[in-house]
């Protein structure tokens, strides 16, 4: 990562000064950072077992911003990107784990499901990814909210800020999006 420091600095500067395309160039770095941190968290002793994905995204942001050495204003924008990247990280891992999208009509995304076999979980994530991609075409904002909340672990307040909508709208969209996703996932 250290090799990329000056590159990151440049990208962050560009982004900060309004070059939106810079965010695309930043993606690989953010991705690496998230992956690195996710792995660090996973391999940690089981003392502090509850992961804080929000914290993870925040931490990734802080590290990158620090490396960039700039006072970065685009925090909420970053959260949106980071959420998308987290999604990407998780999907990649799920694929690596040999999961297939088939045979995973059942979805288990609540914590009650901790005993679900890893394979099933990985498949569930892939299935969700696919359905979420479809939701993007139907209702982009709903899909974005799901991405930020579920994959990014962002709070409703953060999502509201990032998307410039009210928290109430976030909540309402979230509950309807869940209905849509669940229906599509369970549709045989």
């Amino acid at each position: 990562m250290s090799d990329g420091t000056s590159e990151i600095t440049q990208i962050l500067h560009d982004w900060n000064s309004g070059d939106e395309s810079a965010s695309e160039r930043l993606l690989p770095y953010v991705y690496d950072e998230l992956k690195r941190q996710a792995r660090r968290l996973m391999s940690r002793e089981r003392v502090d077992h509850t992961l804080q994905p929000t914290a993870l995204v925040h931490e990734a942001f802080l590290r990158l911003a620090k490396q960039g050495g700039v006072d970065w204003q685009n925090r909420s924008h970053f959260y949106g990107i980071a959420s998308r990247l987290m999604r990407q990280v998780l999907i990649d891992h799920a694929r690596q784990h040999g999961a297939s999208k088939r045979g995973s009509a059942q979805i288990h995304f609540s914590l009650d499901d901790v005993t679900i076999p890893v394979e099933t979980r990985a498949s569930s994530i892939l299935a969700l990814d696919e359905v979420l991609a479809r939701l993007e075409t139907v209702d982009e904002r709903q899909a974005k909210i799901v991405e930020m909340r579920f994959f990014g672990g962002l709070s409703n307040t953060e999502i509201a800020e990032a998307l410039d909508i009210s928290e109430r709208t976030v909540l309402r969209s979230w509950s309807v999006a869940k209905l849509w996703l669940y229906r599509e996932l369970t549709r045989s």
């Binding site: 499901d113 901790v114 994530i125 309807v176």
Partner: protein, 919 residues
């Protein structure tokens, strides 16, 4: 569908979600949607129940298992011998277990294939691995997963194949199937029969835990993983692998004390682990679950702590919500990294239903089941069940409603043993016994419902008696006077109250005079611990009052039925005495006298019924002395002395009868101290010193015989302090400082012995204060300031600890006054004035709460006088100074008008008159 349409549907659906499900259809109809939109909205809402809980956990939390990189290459799809690996089922220390299949005829047979890890393929581990295989080969039981085949892979890695068990861990199985008590016990007995069969083959499993006991869908438990099991006949010491894997391999939550200590492992080890499993099946928790977070904690707990009865761990709600979010670190070892394959096979409906681990309700476990479990969890292997069969048989007895062999007498035995071995440990024993009494009693009332339970109920009642008596009369006195016992008492009190309240809430309790009697007695004891001012207590005077009052009410009720019951009358006298004493320490001393008078009356009644009753006579003597405190506190020293002398006479007779009774002797000699103190307040300093000296010498001698006894030490400290007072009164300040120093030493030692003993703390504060005041008079000003500041700190702490005790507020006011005085003497007028003003306000507060507090009124007069001094030091104007004098004089006059003026204040009064030009 356009974006606007979508938006509209979203809005309507979101609104509908906020409504009850019943109200939604009507709402949708009124929402003004097109047919197509309506259909979509309905379709979305139809899955509302299922969708509600999805995605609640963040993806990262959900995905953490597959985020972990696996460093071993996957064997999936590879062939080992005749087997094709399907996937890994789990891995332990030495090997991994795979689901594998092989062709048998034209059918695929599923098997669990255990492979030694490649890096473990050394002779040491191979030997161990082969031993496991041999063990499995010798075991043949329907509830043990059997050995099917064995061999070596092409690269020489040894493997063996076992029967593949398609099931759930036993705890989860019970939860999923909502097993009740009897079903759980029956299942557990089957496990016992498997373990017992292994034991008959001289095999000890050594790693029994729920994840090693899978239950198939037809309810058959299968014992797995003899990976660290041991053949008993193999000579000790030769088993090198054992020493290597000992700590790493076992599961601390289920390991026995001897296993952790590295002592010899026998069948009793499995009995212990089975006990933990039964504990968990019943209560949903392991005995030391909260300590499992760190290894050293759990090791210490297993080795030293008494396990709680499982009923105390069971949640009171219908479903014990257990470890759902905790689960990943909850099980200390591979139980978690071993995602049970079976769950995949069991199909989605099971997976879906997976909720929290359920357990039984505490009342289902209390009593015999608690005892059975605790017997299997005894620290010493020889005190557990002698065999797994005996364990299982006892469970069978319970299921049939017959008496079990796990008897409470073993508790009593243990308690006795604790007492001999280690006195502080007795406290723990007492708590345990109390918990069990509570459990038994609760069960008892419930058990009464069924006539068939009658016999059991009666037996339990006898148990309760036995245990209650042992608690009340043997254990409590043992810990009563021990240093450091106060925190244990706090626990004791809260447990006891819990149990008493449950008992008094039970409608059946009112019908049984025997139990009411015990309840009253227990309330009284609880009151003692909460706030008996004559004994080490936890400073909860308000709680103490309530408890004593409850005891009193119960006993009064009983007295109606048996008016000539001596024990009852004596108990009532105790209740009245305590309530009176508490009032005399509180802010309404008027209330105290009638209570103590009633106590005296009852005591005399008891003695009239049995003139030879020594204890009754001793208590009478004591109560008489305490009755004297009321006039003493009220400033009537003569009346106080009269009571003290009467008490002295009674104690002298008692002492003549039992000269070796140190309690009596101490009380006798302390009467002299009381008398001297009152004489001192009356201004007869010389007589006072003589009186106290009569008592002090013998008290020193007696206290020296009981160096650890808090009551004796406290009395000694008080006697020193009173003697020092009289030195100070006689203006022998240097001797006073020395004597107060002695008092402080004693108080320090007592208070340090038990920092939670508030009475000891007050003694300490008083000793500091008096020492400081005497130091001031002895012209040791710096030392004085330090002492008084120490006193104020301790008093403030005390007031915070028990704000209900009026005395505490008075103490703080009084010490603030002393501090101001010393500062005036040191000519630090500004600081002095500030403290004196604080003292003035504090006294005003005290007097406002209790206008009858003579002391506070006197002291406030003195505060005005000192304030005048400080003002003069600051060169304030004459009018301001005179105003303080006037306030002081008025206060004294008020006291005079009520006949409460103290002789000691004569000089101050005359001085005020002179200063104000009054004659």
């Amino acid at each position: 569908m356009t974006e606007q349409d979508r938006e509209k549907i979203n809005d309507v659906v979101a609104d509908a979600l906020a409504l009850d499900a019943d109200a939604r259809p009507a709402f949708l109809l009124r929402a003004g949607l097109t047919e197509q939109e309506l259909a979509e909205a309905r379709s979305l809402l139809s899955v509302a129940d299922g969708a509600a809980s999805i995605l609640d956990a963040p993806a990262l939390e959900f995905s953490k298992d597959f985020l972990v990189e696996t460093d071993t290459e996957s064997l999936t799809g590879k062939t080992i011998g005749p087997f094709t690996i399907i996937r890994e089922l789990g891995h332990g220390g030495m090997g991994a277990v795979y689901l594998a299949s092989r062709k048998v005829g034209d059918k695929d047979q599923l098997l669990a294939l255990k492979l030694l890890k490649r890096e473990m393929n050394s002779s040491l581990f191979r030997q161990r691995f082969e031993q496991e295989r041999e063990i499995l080969a010798t075991l043949n039981h329907p509830n043990i997963s059997s050995l099917v085949d064995f061999g070596a892979a092409e690269d020489g890695t040894p493997y063996f194949a076992m029967e593949y068990v398609d099931g759930l861990p036993i705890d989860e199985f019970c939860s999923r199937n909502k097993y009740g008590c009897d079903d759980r016990l029956s299942l557990f007995q089957k496990v016992c029969s498997a373990v017992s069969s292994a034991h008959r083959s001289l095999v000890v499993h050594r790693d029994l835990k729920p994840s090693n006991i899978l239950v198939t869908s037809d309810g058959t438990p299968k014992l797995l993983d003899f990976g660290i099991s041991k053949i008993l006949s193999s000579a000790e010491g030769q088993d090198e692998a054992e020493t290597v894997t000992r700590l790493g391999a076992m599961t601390p939550g289920y390991a026995s004390p001897e296993q952790l200590n590295g002592e010899s492992v026998t069948t009793a080890t499995d009995i212990y682990s089975l006990g933990v499993i039964l504990f968990e099946l019943l209560s949903g928790h392991r005995p030391f679950e909260e300590k499992e977070k760190d290894l050293s904690g759990i090791l210490r707990a297993i080795a030293e702590d008494d396990p709680p009865p499982p009923s105390s761990k069971a949640d009171t709600g219908q479903i014990a919500e257990k470890r759902v979010p905790l689960s990943s670190e909850d099980r200390p070892d591979e139980a978690r990294t071993l995602p049970n394959p079976v769950r995949l096979e069991t199909g989605r409906e099971n997976v879906k239903e997976k909720g929290p681990i359920t357990a039984l309700r505490p009342q289902e476990i209390r009593g015999d089941l608690d005892r059975i479990v605790l017997k299997s969890l005894q620290k010493e292997p020889e005190r557990r069940y002698l065999s797994v069969d005996a364990f299982s048989e006892d469970i069978g007895r319970f299921r049939e409603g017959r008496p079990v062999t796990a008897r409470p007498s073993s508790m009593l035995y243990r308690t006795g043993k604790f007492l001999r071995r280690n006195r502080p440990m007795a406290i723990v024993g007492a708590l345990l016994v109390l918990a069990i009494i509570a459990g038994i009693i609760a069960t008892l009332w419930q058990a009464r419902v069924a006539a068939t339970e009658r016999a059991r109920a009666e037996r339990r009642l006898a148990d309760v008696r036995e245990l209650a008596n042992s608690f009340l009369y043997e254990i409590t006195p043992e810990i009563e006077r021990l240093p450091g016992s106060t925190p244990a008492k706090v626990k004791l009190v809260s447990r006891a109250l819990e149990y008493l309240n449950r008992l008094s809430a039970d409608p059946n309790a009112g019908s049984d005079p025997e139990i009411l009697r015990e309840t009253a007695r227990a309330y009284h004891m609880v009151g003692d611990v909460q706030g008996n001012p004559m004994a080490p207590n936890i400073g909860d005077s308000k709680g103490a009052k309530v408890s004593f009052q409850k005891a009193l009410d119960i006993r009064l009720g009983l007295l109606d039925r048996s008016p000539n019951d001596v024990a009852l009358i004596a108990g009532l006298a105790d209740d009245y005495q305590m309530l009176g004493l508490l009032e005399s320490y509180g802010d309404d001393i008027e209330k105290a006298a009638p209570l103590l008078d009633r106590a005296l009356e009852l005591r005399k009644q008891v003695i009239a019924m049995d003139p030879a009753d020594f204890e009754a006579r001793r208590k009478l003597a004591l109560t008489v002395r305490q009755r004297g405190y009321i006039p003493f506190y009220d400033g009537d020293n003569k009346a106080a002395i009269e009571y003290y002398r009467q008490s002295l006479g009674l104690f002298e007779k008692l002492h003549a009868e039992q000269s070796d009774n140190d309690d009596v002797a101490l009380d006798l000699y302390y009467c002299y101290v009381n008398i001297g103190e009152a004489q001192g307040w009356d201004g007869e300093y010389k007589t006072a010193a003589e009186s106290i000296d009569k008592g002090l010498g013998p008290i020193e001698t007696i206290a020296a015989r009981h160096p650890l006894d808090r009551t004796f030490q406290r009395t000694l400290g008080l006697a020193y302090s009173k003697r020092a007072d009289s030195h100070a009164d006689l203006e022998e300040y240097d001797r006073g400082v020395a004597m107060f120093g002695k008092a402080l030493e004693v108080a320090k030692k007592t208070s340090e012995g038990d920092p939670t003993d508030l009475m000891a703390k007050r003694d300490l504060a008083l000793a500091y204060k008096k020492l400081g005041e005497c130091q001031e008079n002895a012209k040791q000003l710096d030392a004085s300031l330090l002492s008084i500041e120490s006193a104020l700190a301790v008093f403030s702490e005390l007031r915070a600890a028990d704000p209900n005790r009026a005395e505490a507020a008075y103490d703080v006011a009084n010490t603030t006054f002393s501090l101001g005085m010393t500062l005036t003497t040191m000519k630090r007028y500004a600081e002095a004035r500030k403290n004196l003003e604080n003292a003035r306000d504090a006294f005003a507060e005290v007097i406002k709460t209790n206008p009858a507090n003579t002391y506070a009124r006197r002291m406030s007069a003195h505060t005005f006088i000192e304030l005048a001094k400080a003002l003069a030091g600051q060169n304030a104007d004459k009018a301001a100074i005179a105003q303080q004098w006037r306030l002081a004089l008025d206060t004294f006059d008020g006291l005079k008008a009520e006949g409460k003026f103290e002789k000691v204040d004569d000089v101050a009064y005359a001085d005020l008159q002179k200063k104000l030009g009054i004659s």
